[in-house]
Structures are given as C-alpha cells and as structure tokens.
C-alpha cells in the first residue's frame, strides 16, 4: 500500500529537534536516576501509602523491629545467656537488625511494587524500574531513625567511633542496598507472572534473621560447624554485611576493641566485603537484564 498524500503542509518549526527513537524507555536503572523528580514523587507516594488506613501509620515501621528486638534480647540474651558471653549483646543485636530490617523491607515491598502500581504500569510509558527502586529508597528512609537510635545507644554505653569502623558500616550498607535492589527488581518482575513470588519472599525473609550473626555471636559458627564451613557461611552477603555493621558500631563500645575484633570477627573482613560488593553489582546488572526481558509482558499479564 502506498502512503497517501494528505496535502498537509509540515510546519518546520513544529518538528521537534530530536531524532526518531523508540518510545519505550531503554535506559533501565540509568533512566530512573535521570528522572529524579518522578522518582521523588513516587517515593513520597509510597511513604504515604505504605500504611494508609492504619492509625499508627508510619509508627508500625518502628513497632515491629522494637518488638522483635525485645523478644530476641529476652530469649537469646537473657534466657540462653549470650548476655554473659558477648559484651553489650544489645548493641550487637541491634546493629545487625538495622541492616536486616532494611533488607527485608526492601525485598518484600520491592517484590510487590509493580503489581501494586499496575494501574500506572498498564497505561503509562515510563521506566518500570522506578517502582522497585522507590521501594528500596523508602526502606532506606525508614532506616535513618533506627540508625540514629543505634548511634545514641552506642554513645550512652560509651562508644569510641573510629574511621575504619564507619567505612566498614557504610560498606555493609552498600552491600545490602545493592542486593536488595537486585532482588527487588527480579522478584517484582517475577511477581507479575505468578503472585506466588510474594509468598516465597516472605518465607525467605524468615530465614534471614537466623542466617546472620546478630542473635548469636559469630564465634559460634566455627565452634559448631567447624572452620571449614565458615567460608560457606560468610558467602552469605548479609552475614558479611552484618559483621561489617558490627565492626562499625558494636566493636567500638566493647571494653577492648582490639581483643573483640580478634575474637569475634573473621579474617579478611574488608577484602571479603569488597568482593561481596563486586558480586552484588554483577547480580544487579544481571537482574536488570532479566527485568528488561520480562518487562515486555507486564502490560498484558497484570
């Protein structure tokens, strides 16, 4: 068929000064950070929507970890007696919980993010990575007050912060943020195809608390499992991140930080941390590639 001439004169000033390009966005995560204003709106939206219709609202973000903290402290610190074996077990526990809570929040909220926003995903063209990333940022926002509480608690019991420790804590945070974003991307896409995935995520996050050395001291791992399995245990990025976090906060409050480090932290803590961050970044790239493939089917499967 030949395109007909419609006799329409083209006004050259109306022709936009950009090349023809596909209308779909292809930049993935890069596009997300290019459109920061939209991201900010989505984050603000999630902040107000996450606990909509509940009286305590955002307080729930703090009630849950507080209750969990008290439970762990009473059962494992007092009843099992880690209090006597670990200096300042409360700080040891809380430092880990801040990170773990950040991770599970990112993972669960991120997994649901695309399905929850299906009204928009189905009808508007935009980088869909926005939604899991916004979930991750909202969770990070909720982590700030917890980190403040941790800092204040550390100072109360007598904390000597040190530069290396703070860098370690930041490294731990980055590992968790990167893994959280990667998993949120993967599972948010998978959740579009089968809602089972949000249930799988809930099951997975239940394990997280037990797979990291916060409710028990790291020394238990080589003692019970043997030195050979320590490497396997530390292959868990969250275990490594929690140890880095404890290096940042908990080590500084103990009576003899050097002795604590020698006894309670594994060798090559920082090298392992950097390797973990590298792996996390690779996983993030893979997650982005998978997301881009699955994204094509979002509008028809939602």
């Amino acid at each position: 068929m030949t395109p007909p001439s419609t006799g329409q004169a083209v006004d050259p000033s109306r022709v936009p000064d950009v090349p023809l390009s596909p209308p779909t966005s292809n930049g993935g995560l890069l596009d997300v950070f290019r459109r920061r204003y939209l991201l900010r709106l989505l984050v603000r939206r999630e902040l107000s929507a996450r606990y909509q219709g509940s009286f305590l609202g955002m307080l729930w973000s703090y009630v849950q970890p507080t209750v969990r903290f008290l439970m762990y402290y009473l059962v494992l610190g007092v009843l099992v007696g880690f209090n006597q074996r670990v200096d300042y077990f409360g700080v040891h526990l809380f430092a880990g919980m801040v990170l773990v809570h950040y991770f599970t929040e990112t993972f669960t909220a991120g997994t649901r993010s695309i399905v929850r926003n299906k009204a928009i995903v189905k009808k508007m063209a935009m980088p869909r990575e926005m939604f899991p990333v916004a979930s991750m940022l909202v969770s990070a926002y909720h982590t700030i007050p917890q980190a403040l509480v941790l800092t204040v608690a550390c100072f109360i019991v007598g904390w000597e912060p040190d530069g290396i420790g703070l860098v370690a804590a930041v490294l731990g945070f980055l590992i968790v943020a990167t893994w959280g974003t990667a998993l949120a991307l993967l599972f948010s896409a998978a959740n579009v195809f089968a809602r089972d995935f949000s249930n799988i995520v809930q099951t997975l996050t239940a394990f997280v608390h037990f797979s990291v050395p916060m409710i028990y001291p790291f020394t238990l791992v080589p003692a019970r499992f043997g030195e050979d399995l320590v490497g396997l245990y530390l292959a868990n990025p969250l275990a490594e991140a929690v140890l880095l976090m404890q290096r940042g906060f908990w080590v500084g409050v103990t009576d003899d930080p050097d002795a604590t480090m020698a006894a309670h932290l594994p060798d090559h803590l920082y090298t392992r941390g950097l390797v973990h961050l590298g792996i996390a970044l690779v996983v993030l790239v893979v997650a982005q590639l998978v997301f881009t493939r699955l994204e094509n089917k979002f509008p028809e499967r939602l």
Partner: protein, 260 residues
C-alpha cells in the same frame, strides 16, 4: 524528513493462559487440553506519519487499535518490527488515565504529569488550567478510586491535553464523558491539531473522525486494511451506510461519538 511516527513491520502476539494454578494446569494436562494459546493482536503493520498530520485509527472492537496505540505510546514493546517516534508523547490510552486509585486527584495530576515528562514547575504553572478543565471541584483532594468514571476520564484528559507534547494520542476517551465535556474535548483537540502537533485519534464516530482527521487507518484482525483519505476510510468500514437522515440531532451524536 519530518516523520513523527514510523511503524515498521510491527507485530505483537499475546499469550492467553487458561489455567493459573498448578492444580488447574495439571488437570488440564491430564485431559490433554491446551494450556495456553496465542493470537496476533497486531500483525505486520507498517505506516509512517508526518509531523502535524492527524490520523484517525478505526476498526471494529478487538481489531488491535488499543494495542497499536500502546505500542506507539511506549507502554508495550513490539515482538518484532520497530516503532520509532519523534519528541514527547502525551495522551490517553484505553479509556482513562494511569491513575493510582489510592492517591488524591491532586497527587495524581502531579504524578501523571511527571510520568509524561513535565517538571514540577511546569505542572504548577498549568495546575489551575488542568483543574478547571477537569471540572471536578471539591473532589480534587479525594482519592481517585472514589471518582465516577466520568470524573476519572475528565481528569485524565485534562492532564493529557495540558501536557507539552509533540504527539497526542487519544483512545475513545470521549465515550464516557457527557455532552458538554465531549464538546470541550473536541474543541481542545482541534486546538492541538492547529498547533501542529501530530494527532492520533482512535474513534468509532465517523463524523468526529471526518472533522478531525486528514487520514484514516483501518485495522482488521490486527492487519492494516486501509490507509488513505478520511472519507474513503469511513466508506471502507461501511460506517456511513446509515440512511441519509441528516437531522441535526443525528449529526450531533455522530460527531461526538456515541459509540457503536
């Protein structure tokens, strides 16, 4: 050249899944039923549109119009072939905007405008115009989930028409509006057309297509069956075979798109 939309051998296939749970799927497999079926919603469609043209996209229900519009707007990606556009795209896809039901009208205006690529400043500058056009009054701060379908469509249309864009897509939005609103929309679309934007208009109403569009594309079962001048396109679809009752009222309904 000054092409605005280039669609090149584009196909989009949908997969229909009949069974969603493992139990249903295993029973179906035992019985030897199909687990899924596919159909081509858009089948090897090619055309190009110059900047400033207004195109009417017509076809029966299920002929692939909305899918084609989603491909052009970038909501969907074609399975094969290429869609390329020049400049910013705004418009309404499949009756009603992509609004978040839990957010208020006000929040949705900002979110929607941001998705369409407007900055906070641009949105603020046009906010009053948008609200006035949508005419939703005190419901502005109510979650849009509580809106009537007319209000929903009005607000969506209001945001879309006030967005800076080079290509404007409209998909049967007028079907839910009342008569005064439809008139307002037609007037606004004519302005948009005069501004030299590319207009892509999906409608079943021959008179409004005749009025707005220079060229008509007709889809039949996903294939491009006709591409040419408006009157011939409408004739092709046999949408003009109603007897020549040209009473004013009939003309009016025809024009505003009382959907067939």
């Amino acid at each position: 050249m000054s092409e605005s939309i280039v669609v090149d051998q584009v196909s989009k296939r949908f997969t229909m899944r009949f069974h969603r749970t493992i139990k249903q799927m295993s029973i179906a497999m035992l019985r030897g039923q199909d687990l899924s079926d596919t159909f081509l919603a858009v089948d090897d469609v090619s055309f190009s549109v110059q900047q400033g043209e207004s195109i009417g996209l017509m076809g029966l229900n299920g002929s692939g119009k909305s899918t084609l519009l989603k491909l052009i707007s970038g909501v969907m990606r074609p399975d094969s072939g290429k869609v390329r556009t020049r400049g910013r795209i705004a418009g309404l896809i499949a009756t009603g905007a992509g609004f978040h039901p839990q957010l208020t009208g006000r929040e949705n205006v900002f979110l929607n405008a941001a998705i369409l690529g407007m900055s906070e400043k641009e949105t603020k500058a046009r906010f009053d115009d948008i609200v006035e056009f949508a005419d939703i009054g005190r419901f502005l701060d109510t979650p849009v989930g509580h809106y009537s379908s007319g209000m929903f469509a009005r607000l969506g249309f209001a945001v879309a028409v006030h967005t800076e864009s080079d290509i404007f897509l409209v998909d049967e939005v007028l079907a839910v509006g009342d008569r005064p609103f439809k008139k307002k929309c037609m007037a606004r679309m004519e302005e948009i057309k005069k501004e030299g934007r590319t207009l892509f208009y999906v409608s079943h109403a021959p008179a409004s297509v005749r009025k707005m569009c220079d060229r008509v594309l007709v889809l039949e079962k996903g294939q491009l069956a006709f591409d040419g001048p408006t009157n011939e396109g409408i004739k092709y679809l046999k949408y003009d075979d109603e007897d020549d009752v040209n009473s004013d009222e009939n003309q009016d309904d025809d024009e505003l798109g009382a959907d067939i």
